[in-house]
Amino acid sequence: AQSVSQHNHHVILSEAASLELGCNYSYGGTVNLFWYVQYPGQHLQLLLKYFSGDPLVKGIKGFEAEFIKSKFSFNLRKPSVQWSDTAEYFCAVIRNTGGFKTIFGAGTRLFVKA
């Protein structure tokens, strides 16, 4: 069955540290990839997305993600985190075949210490 794995459930960093959150998916076909973020008390919202083209995708607030097809990965990165990045991050995958079923990872809770 199609699945999305996020390697870390909880991450604690100090401000200015670099961040990398891992995401791997199991589907072998063409996919669309997403990172969503949920800040405390707010709606789940899109951070960035990959549909095609340049595998290095830049999103809001200085985040970026790299699609590595050979590794079935879409890791999220930020060179220097801020306290305001404290949130839960979800990786998501949908098959690019006209389907509607988006598979979400279990989420990673990031806590950034000021």
């Binding site: 789940l44 899109l46 549909f51 509607f100 079923k101 988006t102 990872g105 279990a106």
Partner: protein, 112 residues
């Protein structure tokens, strides 16, 4: 601009009682609509999705059902709630062309 509403925001119901959670979308037409349940440490589980009025696809067999009586209205229901139905329920929409989903504020359901 598009907005998505869910109500109620929180709900406490006894076991065996019925349930109706409502989701409405404004500012778009013919959206795809989704119901998810979010559990801590388990991500988002897709429960139902709909590509049009009266068209419902169920992803997980369970005690819940969904209906879409109008283009921008999506309802999650149960005839008799179970303790295991407690959780955080999210509604989302996407356009017919794009797969990016936009989420509502969610409903926290507690079944006692």
């Amino acid at each position: 601009s598009q907005t998505i509403h869910q109500w109620p925001a929180t709900l406490v119901q006894p076991v065996g009682s019925p349930l109706s959670l409502e989701c409405t979308v404004e500012g778009t037409s013919n959206p795809n609509l989704y119901w998810y349940r979010q559990a801590a440490g388990r991500g988002l589980q897709l429960l139902f999705y709909s590509v049009g009025i009266g068209q419902i696809s169920s992803e997980v067999p369970q005690n819940l059902s969904a209906s879409r009586p109008q283009d921008r209205q999506f309802i999650l229901s149960s005839k008799k709630l179970l303790l295991s139905d407690s959780g955080f329920y999210l509604c989302a929409w996407s356009s017919q062309r794009e797969n990016e989903q936009f989420f509502g504020p969610g409903t926290r359901l507690t079944v006692l």
